[in-house]
Amino acid sequence: MYQYSTSEQRFLRDRAGQFRNQVTRYLDGELEEEEFRQLRLRNGLYQERNAPMLRVAIPYGQLSDAQLEMLADIADRYDRGYGHFTTRQNIQFNWVRIEDVPDILHDLSAAGLHAIQTSGSCVRNTTTDHLAGVSPDEHVDPRPWCELIRQWSTLHPEFYWLPRKFKIAVNGAENDRAAIRFHDIGMELYLDSGRQVRIRLFVGGGMGRTPVLGKLLREDILPEELLPWLQAILRVYNQHGRRDHKYRSRIKILVNSMGMGPFSEAVSQAFSHARGRPAWQPAVFRRIAESFGRAAPVSPEPRLRFIPVRSEAYERWQEHNTGQHALDRYVIVHVSLKPHGKAPGDMDSAAMRALAGIARKYSSGELRVSHEQNLVLPWVNRERLYDVWRLLDEAGLATPNIGTLTDMISCPGLDYCSLANADTIPLAMQIQERMADLDRLYEIGPVRLKMSGCMNACGHHHAGDIGILGVDKGGEQWYQFTLGGNAGNRARIGKRLGPAIAREKLADAVENIIATCLAMRLPGETFEETVIRAGIEPFREQLYADHQKQQDHKSALSG
């Protein structure tokens, strides 16, 4: 993992000190409300429904055992003993006090953690594949590039006040696990015929109220040209992006209104004007790249061979929650943060500490945060897998549901978010309880269910096999379904199924959709494949036929 130098540590402390000064001035009435709002957002601090919320970055999803322990300490010291992992490789603390935030940031800095640019109209935490560096299908390790982008974009004086938030995602594997087509800039790393690293940039993708797939801006970019291209894109956006309307200020709207041709022309011009700036710094990149060596971590080779006990629970877990590692001796372990009946992505401090201990002993001290709101142990020795399972199971972290319907993504919704139209967490829990039977879950097979509490789409519903969007209808909570979205290589925006469904009917509707799929799917087909083959029509018919019947029944009763 990349280690912060002493000057980087000082930088984080200074940044916490700067925010302390801003908070003091604000509380003393010396800083205007709107200005403080802008400043606090760039330090991850939101004013939510019930309390201020602090969003801490887990840069490109890399987390150490000590950092996870620090997060546990923060949760206990300043919050209610838990945190919430988001879809963007961040963790949110939902019950902090503004006065405490400077202390929290100071404490975090000791573990090399921070909340810089985790919100506000600036370049946000760069996200990537949670299996970076350990996955067998990887062409180029994306982490050094993410770290380079992090350094470049951190407090970049020119791009600190963009028209709107700006998200960059990087993928370097055959399978896109970073949803690059759904980001303001999606970056793909690949090897050319001479096995040299080249870069492809997509621009203008995003979820939100107008979901758009990123368009190819340019390929065959050389490593040293990356930052000049990023700078050129941001220059054009910063200068010409709309600032008068919150919902029209993302780069996707600019790309649309200019047209991809003229936009790309403007970017090319800005690129050539900059004459290779920022200059490539080979030594800087080397230092970064070396810190992510792919060498297997040094963990003592067990001299004795243990044959795991055959237990059904272990086998099930092994089948669903582990994955193939680039090196044969190791296994990738997915830690499910979706135990049935709990808020997806939530983790309490006891579980954090237990997992930190497991990571230290069995995964070289390394963890990952996935955009599916789970954690990953990337370096587990095959021979110790049973021990790891036992410990995870004890900590309540071994629900064998990775990739299944109950491994759902959900934003916080009305429980916390001040922008929400509708509940998400209670409904996610309801669906999980309904679908808790593991045999049934496995029979259904892989399904990505994603739920957002409003149009902002933090739960990525547009990209779910099943997407659920909370809407407000005259003060009531209703839910709009979409089917057939995909965030990966087959990036697609889900199609709307029909009119919104009432809150009480939500879990029924999910069951109905699943039943429709099971009734017509061909042997070996996944949910996704069935939807693609059959289209959404049969699902629509079934869902609303049922609905109609109930309506008729109701009116017959009342009539």
Binding site: L31, Q38, L155, P157, E158, W161, A274
Partner: protein, 151 residues
């Protein structure tokens, strides 16, 4: 309003073609872009120092193309606290147009000073009620560790 100037020496402002003694335009001689363009068109000889120009965040730099070297001072309205265009204007003037004259931020606030400075501003008119002594520490609250933005 208070003005802070950086200690950096400002290069000769307006190189008259004849090599005559150059006169520095007085501070007050800063004209909004449109007026400045009119002044330029009506002074074909330009033997005396030309006035500075005042830019709004959405003014196009192209209209100054080829004349930027002549400007003793470019002032930019930086009163919009979160208006990032100011920063791209300044960075472009310094990094792309190679402008070396005075770059003045009008209406700067304490919390913006450091970033304005890093984008190339070297003179600052800060909001009323803030003294130079109060303002100076804000330039170095957080010393940058990554210098990719330096041109």
């Amino acid at each position: 309003m208070q003005t802070i100037r950086s200690s950096k020496t400002i290069s000769p402002p307006c190189q008259a073609e004849s090599g005559d003694q150059v006169e520095r335009a007085p501070d007050s001689a800063i004209l909004p872009l449109e007026q400045w363009l009119r002044w330029w068109d009506s002074h074909p000889c330009r033997t005396t120092g030309c006035p500075g120009v005042l830019l709004q965040p959405d003014d196009p730099l192209q209209s100054l193309a080829g004349r930027i070297d002549q400007l003793p001072v470019i002032a930019i309205n930086a009163a919009g606290f979160a208006d990032g265009r100011v920063y791209t204007l300044a960075s472009t003037l310094r990094g792309v147009c190679q402008y070396r004259g005075e770059l003045r931020a009008l209406g700067a606030t304490l919390d913006n000073l450091a970033m304005l400075g890093r984008c190339g501003f070297d003179a600052f008119e800060i909001r009323d009620g803030i003294s130079v002594e109060d303002a100076l520490p804000y330039f170095s609250e957080v010393e940058p560790v990554y210098g990719f933005w330096q041109q």
